[in-house]
């Protein structure tokens, strides 16, 4: 069982979180333009590496935030944890939150 250092709640047991899969490709835009191939890749394809990978984890037993977790699947080491919104917006917008 891994420990995830939540940026809002501190280090917590994995049982407080829900795994949300790999944070691989960016979701295709809902602009009527994206094709099935792009959506297929987004929904069905993942890297599943033995080593570092970025994943989404939902802290349902804590702050209710989705987190972007960089984790080594071979060593279970947590390399980086960021709030998903911060990660998506980039560091400049942190102030707003």
């Amino acid at each position: 069982m891994i420990h995830i250092p939540c940026p809002w709640c501190g280090p917590r047991d994995e049982t407080e979180f829900t795994y949300g899969g790999e944070a691989g490709d960016v979701m295709p835009a809902l602009d009527g333009q994206s094709d099935q191939v792009a959506w297929h890749a987004f929904v069905h394809l993942s890297e599943n590496p033995s080593g570092p990978v970025s994943e989404f984890w939902y802290h349902g037993g804590g702050c209710g935030r989705w987190l972007l977790v960089r984790r080594d699947t071979a060593s279970y080491e947590i390399l980086e944890v960021r709030d998903a919104v911060e990660a998506a917006r980039g560091p400049k917008d942190d102030v707003e939150r």
């Binding site: 994206s34 959506w39 297929h40 989404f56 209710g64 935030r65 998903a84 998506a88």
Partner: protein, 943 residues
């Protein structure tokens, strides 16, 4: 057993408390032991040689060891539902009133019919269950039952476990596993540095081999040093000492799992996060492999020393020692102190290897054991001289054997540490300098006696693995049949399997295989070490999370009102929900039928509080909802509510519910009860992970609002009688309206929606007003014939209307088109799931589509879960055309109806098919009809 009370207890010595006499029973016989005994030592003290029968051949077995590696002494402890099978007698602290039974024997241990299997030994070789009993074809299931009954390792209790198990989460700066000398030293050092630490040991007493070794520590006698060390640690408030506690998993460091076995069979699972872990697991002595090496009375040399020194037990009268290393020579002094005669010391090595020449003991250098005698207890040995093969006979009732020492590195290997074969000791040592955990003491090979590599004896019944009855012949046979890899050998012969996982057998087996294959032991490798180190009770793993405590019980704000109304509750997900409200003497079917009829004819009220409710606010709320629902919402006006369908990104239907617009930028969503949590998570994910720029706020308000629905022809009369502060007539408050206001003075949100297909309203009120609202509805409804209805009646009415439900029709495979809702899917906008919903696979022919079914005879309820086929079922294979999702008798239509997912069903209306259930042995002819059975035009709804 004819032994007199504690006949084999030494007159003095040992660490037991001889003033505290304890009574216990083993296989129904009553014995006495002392405080500080284990069940094993107490049995030995009473001269009980025979503790079990072996797994396959049912050979009589005695105790081999004194520790957790014990392969033979497995017992069932306790009675009734408290009983626990397969516990090691060597690890069970004796207590007054202990009840234990042997396993694998019938009718009794001393006369076991299963021992006949021993006569059939030549048919029970490695892999026998893969080869024999295969004739005649199809008979295996019959043989399997017999074999499983005969085999089996213990029997679990049948009823619920009355013990109280618990989980305990703990952090520490250092966890020391093993409280022998090395572990105590590590703990003392860390304690002096002021570190917060846990020291655990699987045994009831800390100290490990300090109890029976003689080397002084820091100039003190081992036991004196031990007392001092334990006292120091006990007085340190930063130190937690855990006896009877096994660290069984280091797989996910820094998380370590410990099982603490507490009095009364109550277990505590420690979930420990340690900044650092020190493994001081010591080493296990290996048996020697020779023909007949499994008779009661043949024990590990260290175990004999342990029983003499720690427990004051005399395990035999006349002993022989056999060894391939120096460590067993130290037993001579212990045997002498216990007044046990030594008939000989067999050193398998050449004469010059002996560390010293013992006084008055015949030494047989360069000898090996050719065979043993004695049925239920060892009576003697035959030795064979290594030079000329000449033989010598020795009489003895106790054989101490030492085949070298195996450092306990299972937990190190679990943590990902690599092992390296060290030929000097004939066992593995830690390979890496940078290890996931620090290994100290004998576990790291410190002080472990160098061992001569010995050709392993060949002959019948030379046991490699005692617990699984695997002999050298079995390994040879498996290798001859092509199972050369050590992992294959383990699985084919079962060596290293079972509750001991080969603690005493793995190294011997791989050395034997290496010798036979002419390879190095390093090249042979080793099997993978996985948790648990020793078996863990499932109760400890489950902890308090069982039965009703497995998940929280959710009660709606109307729970007390429902109780008062006479509801029978049912567990639905986490919810405790009213199932029906029986009147005097009514059975469930009658109550459901009455509730349905009353709702359809007058008016009913139902608790809807468990619906998921999500409040969405913000300037971008319309954009957000347009993206997450597949139907059009752009033109939803303020004060209106609309049915909404949500797809997953892959185009499959995820959930249905309502979207109500309370203001320009304020929406309230409802979700199904079943998916409330998932939908909430899904929406939060979309917002946070993918569309963070949308300016919205989502709030889950499921628990904040109580909700009830009133439905039936008189629903508006009831509503009017309740005195709303706004007009609710047909024109002012038409179908699909929503507004906030007061009802009988209570703040409410009123929806005109219907799940039952009747004129209906949902009334939401803040949870705190729930009971007032119920009371008001109850009073106002009484003159109108109001009756509450439960989950079952609700389900009947939704089925009569052909409304879909999560889990039956929304099953993770169907799309809106499959369920006849294709026209709701917007073609004007993009939304989550649109792209993949258009996949040819989801759009083409051959989809399972929602239809209604009616029995052709008009009266047989179609079997629940039935398959749909073209022909009646005749016991032969048929192509499935689909299956039933719901089936019941409709009180409104007065005939049975069903919903089904039928291949290309939308094109098959009017066809006849068969609903077949081989399980119920039932085939019913059914007509394919529209799923909208009742009031298909919706006149009642819009009334």
């Amino acid at each position: 057993m004819s032994a007199s009370p504690q006949s084999h207890r030494l007159p003095s010595g040992g660490l037991i408390d001889r003033t505290q006499s304890l009574s216990f029973t083993f296989d129904g016989e009553t014995y006495e032991g002392y405080e500080g005994d284990t069940l094993a030592s107490a049995l030995l003290a009473n001269g009980v040689d025979l503790v079990g029968r072996s797994f396959k051949y049912h050979r009589p077995r005695g105790l081999l060891s004194a520790g957790s590696e014990e392969p033979n002494g497995l017992v069932r402890l306790g009675e009734g539902n408290r009983a626990r099978p397969n516990l090691r007698a060597t690890e069970i602290p004796l207590f007054d009133g202990l009840v234990a039974r042997s396993q694998n024997a019938w009718p009794k241990l001393s006369f076991d019919l299963g021992a006949l299997a021993g006569l059939a030994a030549r048919y029970l070789k490695a892999g026998f269950y893969y080869k024999t009993f295969l004739w005649p074809a199809g008979a295996w299931p019959f043989y399997e039952k017999l074999i499983r009954r005969a085999a089996g390792l213990g029997q679990p209790p049948c009823g619920p476990d009355p013990a109280q198990h618990e989980h305990h989460h703990q952090t520490c700066e250092l966890l020391v596993i093993g409280a022998g000398r090395a572990g105590l030293v590590a703990a003392l050092e860390a304690a002096e540095q002021g570190r917060r630490l846990i020291l655990c040991d699987e045994r009831a007493e800390l100290g490990g081999s300090l109890a029976w070794t003689r080397d002084p520590v820091d100039g003190l006698e081992p036991i004196a040093w031990w007392d001092q060390a334990v006292e120091k640690l006990e007085q340190n408030p930063k130190v937690t000492l855990l006896a009877n506690t096994t660290a069984f998993s280091c797989q996910n460091l820094p998380l370590v799992l410990l099982e603490e076995r507490r009095p009364g069979g109550n277990h505590r699972l420690w979930i420990v996060r340690a900044d650092a872990v020190v493994l001081a697991g010591g080493a296990i002595e290996r048996p020697l492999v020779f023909p007949g090496n499994d008779r009661p009375g043949i024990m590990l040399a260290s175990a004999v020393r342990f029983y003499i020194r720690h427990y004051g037990v005399k395990p035999g009268q006349r002993a022989v020692i056999v060894t391939n290393n120096d460590s067993a020579y130290e037993a001579l002094e212990d045997l002498k102190s216990a007044d046990i005669q030594v008939a000989g010391l067999i050193d398998m090595r050449p004469a010059e290897a002996a560390p010293f020449r013992p006084d008055g003991v015949p030494v047989f250098a360069n000898y090996e054991i050719a065979g043993t005698r004695g049925r239920k207890r060892l009576k003697g040995l035959t030795l064979r001289y290594g030079v000329d093969g000449s033989r010598v006979d020795l009489d003895c009732d106790l054989l101490l054997m030492s085949g070298g020492w195996t450092p306990n590195l299972q937990l190190y290997a679990q943590a990902g540490g690599r092992l390296m074969m060290e030929p000097q000791i004939g066992a593995h040592l830690p390979h890496d300098a940078t290890t996931p955990l620090a290994v100290v003491g004998a576990a790291a090979g410190k002080g472990v006696s160098p061992t001569a590599a010995m050709p392993l004896a060949k002959g019948p019944m030379a046991f490699m693995d005692f617990q699984n009855d695997v002999t050298t012949d079995d390994l040879d046979l498996a290798m001859a049949e092509g199972y050369g890899d050590i992992e294959h050998l383990k699985r084919y012969t079962t060596t290293g399997m079972g509750t001991d996982q080969g603690k005493t057998s793995n190294i011997n087996a791989l050395s034997f295989v290496a010798a036979r294959q002419g390879r190095s032991a390093e090249a042979v490798g080793h099997t993978t070490f996985r948790p648990p180190f020793t078996p863990v009770s499932l109760g400890a793993v489950a902890g308090p999370a069982r039965g009703r405590d497995l998940a929280p019980t959710r009660r709606t704000p109307f729970h007390k009102a429902n109780e008062k109304a006479g509801a029978v509750f049912v567990t639905a997900g986490d919810w405790l929900y009213p199932r029906h409200y029986p009147h005097n003497g009514e059975d469930m079917a009658a109550a459901i039928a009455r509730e349905v009829r009353n709702t359809r004819r007058q008016v009913g009220v139902v608790d809807m509080s468990s619906l998921g409710k999500i409040d969405v606010q913000g300037p971008d709320a319309p954009t957000f909802l347009e993206r997450v629902y597949c139907n059009n919402l752009a033109n939803l006006a303020i004060g209106r509510v609309r049915y909404g369908l949500m797809l997953r990104a892959d185009g499959i239907l995820f959930d249905d519910g309502t979207v109500a617009r309370l203001g320009e930028t304020h929406f309230l969503l409802t979700t199904t009860t079943a998916r409330a949590g998932e939908v909430w998570q899904h929406l939060e994910r979309l917002h946070q992970c993918h569309w963070p720029d949308l300016d919205i706020r989502l709030t889950s308000v499921t628990d904040a609002w109580a909700a009830l629905a009133i439905a039936g022809p008189r629903a508006r009369d009831l509503l009017t009688a309740l005195g709303p502060d706004f007009p609710v007539d047909k024109e002012s408050f038409p179908m699909a309206s929503v507004r906030e206001g007061l009802l009988d003075g209570l703040p409410i949100r009123l929806y005109r929606v219907s799940f039952s297909g009747e004129l209906g309203y949902e009334i939401h009120t803040p949870a705190g007003y729930a009971e007032d609202l119920w009371e008001a509805v109850d009073v106002a409804g009484a003159p109108l014939g109001l009756m509450p209805y439960g989950l079952e009646a609700l389900d009947v009415m939704r089925l009569e209307k052909g409304h879909i439900s999560v889990g039956t029709e929304i099953d993770g495979r169907t799309t809106p088109a499959d369920l006849g809702l294709g026209k709701l899917v917007s073609r004007k906008k993009d939304f989550l799931g649109r792209s993949l919903f258009q996949r040819p696979y989801l759009q083409g022919k051959g989809r399972l589509q929602l239809v209604g079914l009616q029995p052709v005879d008009g009266q047989t309820v179609l079997p629940i879960g039935a398959m749909i086929t073209a022909h009646t079922w005749q016991g032969t294979t048929q192509v499935s055309l689909g299956y039933l999702t719901a089936s019941l008798y409709s009180p409104s239509l007065e005939h049975p109806i069903a919903l089904a997912l039928l291949k290309d069903g939308h094109d098959r209306l009017g066809d006849e098919v068969w609903a077949v259930s081989p399980l119920a042995n039932q085939s019913v002819r059914a007509a394919v009809v529209s799923p909208h059975f009742f009031d298909p035009g919706g006149e009642r709804l819009n009334g």
